[in-house]
């Protein structure tokens, strides 16, 4: 519409253009700052922690001796075990609750439960993890007369369940109703429809939700601070004091000994690397889920 000579129109539009340029500038600067800050953090972490990476860090136990501080083998293993235990409980509960919220929401017996369950999930997801840690201490550690892997995994599972439940619900809701109709019209029951059509159709994205929750709890410190007790030994009895990477980072970072602090820095690099791998897995799962949905 704008011929080259139509100066009045151009003038009229120049505030809009200015605004547009300003917008581009602001969003660009903000993005750049965020990336810069993140890179600074990561760079500094690598700068401080990378030097400490050694076979020892992954194979040895912490000695408590500043001259020869050892490694975090027990913490890494402990965190993996804790996260696995939490997922063992949290994933089935979360997925089942998500299925309930999405598929049994509308009607029938127990439909009245849906809103309260959803509300509790949302509230629980917003509870600061230190609160869950202390409540876990009062409700599990005190009655069991001691910290344990069970108590820590329970606290982590409590954080995990609402995340898994809500993402599962959201993902199942994205499955087209026409799939459910097609299955029911063939004489399938509701549970057959959910298990054979709805869940597989949502598959990848439900896994994304699970991985998100796993990544979240793998990096948690507060809930296990009071519940697992920590240990300098390799993970052993689940009902005794238990080691975790985040707890060891926390403790080592507070040590006055530079050699212990070095362990903390290296521990952080390893933790971030673990989370990065999880993140890549999430992206892969999401990409697959999106690909599956095309044309569906």
């Amino acid at each position: 519409m704008n011929s080259p000579g139509s100066i009045p129109t151009a003038t009229l539009r120049s505030p809009a253009r200015l605004m547009s340029a300003l917008m581009l500038g602001l969003t660009g600067v903000a993005s750049f700052l965020i990336v810069a800050v993140l890179l600074t953090v990561l760079g500094y972490l690598l700068f401080r922690g990378f030097g400490g990476l050694s076979i020892d860090f992954f194979t040895r136990l912490p000695t408590g001796n500043p001259q020869d501080p050892g490694g975090f083998a027990n913490g890494i293993l402990g965190t993996l075990i804790l996260v696995g235990m939490a997922a063992l409980v949290g994933v089935p509960f979360g997925v089942l609750a998500g299925i309930y919220l999405s598929e049994y929401g509308g009607r029938g017996l127990g439909a009245w439960l849906v809103s309260p369950v959803r509300l509790v999930c949302d509230v629980l997801a917003g509870v600061p993890s230190i609160v869950i840690g202390i409540v876990g201490y009062e409700l599990i550690v005190v009655p069991m007369k001691g910290a344990s892997a069970y108590a820590g995994a329970a606290a982590l599972a409590v954080i995990m369940v609402p995340i898994v439940a809500r993402t599962t619900e959201e993902m199942l809701r994205l499955v087209p109703a026409s799939f459910r109709e097609g299955s029911l019209a063939l004489g399938a029951t509701k549970s057959q429809t959910i298990l054979r059509v709805v869940l597989p159709a949502a598959g990848g994205s439900v896994i994304t939700g699970i991985l998100l929750a796993v990544a979240r709890i793998a990096g948690e410190t507060a809930p296990i601070l009071f519940t697992i007790g920590g240990s300098r030994l390799l993970p052993g009895d689940l009902d005794k004091e238990f080691p975790s990477l985040t707890l060891q980072i926390y403790n080592a970072a507070r040590s006055p000994a530079p050699s212990e602090q070095q362990l903390a820095w290296t521990g952080m690099v390893v933790l971030i690397a673990i989370l990065l791998v999880l993140n890549l897995a999430i992206r892969l799962a999401t990409a697959r889920a999106i690909k599956n949905r095309v044309g569906g």
């Binding site: 019209a185 063939l186 597989p200």
Partner: protein, 316 residues
């Protein structure tokens, strides 16, 4: 939408050409054929319906030539407080293709979905009257909805293959019913795909995802999936409305073929399609069955002028 429809029909009822003119030489042979049929008396059945009257459907005796595969008697349905079906009585002949036509929102899908109780999925649906599939009372208390849906297959407006392989799609129903034997599944899969005229196109890629098929192929796959479990009745809700003419033609051929083995009820907006594929045609309006007879009669010799006007595209 209702307003528009009303306007149309009002125009129709005041059209001077509307009263019967048996000897009129104009290009309206059906009108001539109807002659001074008793149903011509008012010429405003639709007007009466719009005013909320319950009208007697003009059901031709010819529909009783075959035993009814689906027998609908005085069937009414409410969505909450909205009455969507008004005392529909309609014996759907066995082993034939029956088309349901009528303006949008007249209850064709609702009636179709009543036959396999898909309306159960909608909150607040209430029904009265009787609906039998064969000798089974579909709305009897304690009836097994699952077993009804195994007898009555359904193909939807938008093709809905599951996001799994072509093979898994076709044998889905069989697996649901507990069939595990691989050779049986394979045999049924091939037979259903052949019946759906899809076998040659997909036989080399049965393990590939059904999502990669074209729209017409997807719809034929859905037909294969439905007929794989040997239903007595196949319901089709505008199965071609999202397809191009060539894909549509294939489906129409298919409908004529499968109708040799089962009863087909098809909702369509396309009068030519109804004329091409169906043996019987039902004309519905605002939740009522207006006229039901053999397709030849409905298109060439309807009892009601309203039916003639609708099927010749002069309203609706």
């Amino acid at each position: 939408m209702n307003v528009e429809m009303t306007k149309d029909v009002v125009r129709m009822t005041v059209t001077p050409g509307n009263p019967p003119q048996p000897s009129s030489p104009t290009a309206r042979p059906p009108r001539v054929a109807v002659g001074p049929s008793p149903a011509m008396r008012a010429g405003s059945v639709l007007q009466a319906i719009r005013e909320g009257a319950s009208v007697t459907s003009a059901v031709h005796p010819s529909v009783h030539a075959h035993p009814a595969a689906v027998d609908i008697r005085g069937f009414e349905l409410w969505y909450g407080s909205f009455k969507a079906l008004h005392s529909v009585s309609m014996p759907i002949p066995r082993g034939r293709v029956t088309a349901m036509v009528g303006p949008s929102g007249c209850g064709k899908s609702t009636l179709l979905r009543s036959i396999n109780r898909m309306n159960d999925l909608v909150d607040g649906v209430r029904t009265t009257g009787a609906l039998h599939v064969g000798e089974h009372d579909v709305y009897a208390g304690g009836v097994d909805v699952i077993s009804i849906r195994r007898r009555v297959g359904m193909v939807f407006q938008k093709s809905n293959p599951f996001p799994m392989s072509i093979f898994d799609n076709v044998v889905y129903g069989l697996r649901i019913y507990g069939e595990r034997r691989k050779d049986v599944l394979q045999e049924c899969c091939e037979r259903a795909l052949r019946q759906a005229a899809l076998w040659d196109e997909v036989k080399d890629r049965l393990k590939q995802s059904a999502i990669g098929l074209s729209g017409g192929q997807q719809q034929r796959l859905c037909i294969a999936r439905s007929i794989a479990v040997n239903p007595e009745v196949l319901l089709m809700d505008e199965p071609c409305s999202a397809l191009d003419p060539i894909a549509t033609q294939k489906i129409e051929e298919l409908i004529r073929e499968i109708a040799e083995k089962l009863t087909v009820v098809i909702v369509t907006h396309n009068m030519q399609q109804a004329a091409r594929v169906s043996n019987y045609t039902a004309f519905m309006y605002l939740g009522r069955l207006v006229e039901f007879g053999s397709t030849a009669d409905i298109f060439q010799n309807p009892q009601l002028p309203e039916t003639e006007q609708y099927v010749t595209g002069r309203f609706g």
